[in-house]
Symmetry: C2
Subunit: 274 residues, 2 copies
């Protein structure tokens, strides 16, 4: 692991790091905040949305203040492999910056687009080995495409992630344009394979988490066509998964929304990662 | 005034706006946060550093949470005129993104680089006319080159700015490479003219503010060569200007430093803008 940069922040250390990823076959960057004190600390993963890097959450969410107080390590991965030798798409919602937290099976994406393995398998070991982290206490959150990532990774790994929340998540990629486009290209036309990367479908197929916290702005321009939280409400109700969906009146989709409620999410995770 | 974008944030409104500036002869953007409630609210100006736009403070400082609680309007101007028809320099510390909060007198800069007039004269009227602002209660702060801007604008306009603070400011541009380069090009070789854009020189020449708050990280890579807070300490001591200089151990220069102490600054201003 190489250190790209570090800076003191609220008494802790905010760093950006880089590994040669065996999962993606590229250099991958990620950001880690370590709170002040000795640790070991519980770990909260935060997955970002379309077009983002490891920087967006790290620079715009205002999470370090609260993580310093609560004693939480924050880990923010990138959203895709990157570089000249990596496949890409001109659209903002496909290719670099739009990895959708899955392992692609279709050409030309399968060679590098393996964000699921990068985060769930590879970074797990990197964080455990290099930071004062208690890997028995991990939670996960995310925003938009990263909310989709948080929900699906938690549903597929309930023993690993003891708490999960999301901001304005894509809850059912199989049913909305962003997801139909990306999953079709990354995974091919066999829609059965898509169901393992769709929170609503995973719940319908029997995956479970103990409870969910979701914040959603009612002025979010993606609400109707892409996010569809009502599908998560229905799936959770049918499966008896406790869902706290908080409608935030007047809020839109970006980090001005996320920062307004990040404190509630961090306290919610910290209470469940004791 | 045109509205570029707005988003709800901590119950208030974070917006980006644009005017056709008579001062600079260009379109100028600026960001304004209006807290929840009726107002009128006091106004805190925040001037950003080299390479920045109106976005850096707005997106990275985490100030809206506290401004919402305290009932402060935050105004973040851009740091220079911009555009294809505007003079520029390849260096990061001169030209676009590096206006130094002065009115240039030398070609090719004098045509557009009039950030002092833009902020002190022009935006004053724009903010007063378009937002629920009490213009009898204004404070000013800034970071790095913007700390220079905050100190010099306050020293030259003590009746307007009732409170002033800075993060890692350039306190004596006349004596450091960034300032000698920029002021020489913007103002020419007559160093007497530079003294009206140098906080230490202004204090030496009799300008006064009631008190100053400055935070400075002791791991700041620009500390020794460019910032030189000891010169401000000496000038304030000689002039009996009350200066609270807080050395922050281990902190560097960027917004991870600023966000760690922005709450103290906003509370300090709010207490003086009652």
């Amino acid at each position: 692991m190489d250190t790209v940069s570090t800076a003191k922040c609220f008494g802790g250390t905010q760093g950006t790091y880089r590994i040669d990823s065996a999962a993606t076959g590229t250099a991958m960057r990620f950001a880690v905040f370590v709170p002040p004190g000795e640790g070991p600390f519980p770990v909260l993963w935060f997955l970002a949305g379309l077009t983002c890097t490891e920087d967006n959450f790290t620079q715009k969410a205002g999470a370090q203040r609260i993580a310093a107080e609560l004693g939480l390590i924050l880990v923010a991965p990138d959203t895709s492999p990157r570089g000249e030798g990596v496949a890409n798409d001109e659209a903002y919602d496909m290719g670099q910056g739009a990895g959708f937290y899955l392992d692609a099976t279709q050409a030309p994406w399968a060679q590098h687009f393996r964000m699921y393995s990068h985060i769930v398998d590879e970074l797990l070991g990197v964080i455990g080995a290099n930071f004062p982290a208690d890997m028995s206490r991990q939670g996960i959150s995310g925003h938009s495409m990263g909310g989709h990532g948080a929900l699906t990774l938690a549903l597929r790994n309930p023993d690993r992630f003891r708490s999960v929340s999301a901001f304005a998540p894509i809850v059912a990629p199989n049913q909305v344009p962003w997801g139909i486009n990306a999953l079709g290209k990354y995974l091919g036309e066999d829609r059965a394979a898509w169901r393992r990367h769709d929170a609503v479908a995973l719940i319908e197929d029997g995956a479970r988490v103990s409870e969910l916290l979701v914040d959603q702005g009612d002025a979010d321009p993606w609400l109707i066509d892409q996010l569809k939280p009502e599908l998560l409400v229905d799936a959770c109700a049918a499966a008896a998964v406790p869902l706290t969906l908080r409608w935030q009146p007047g809020y839109e989709h970006g980090y001005f929304f996320v920062q307004s409620f990040i404190e509630d999410h961090l306290r919610w995770h910290a209470a469940r990662l004791v």
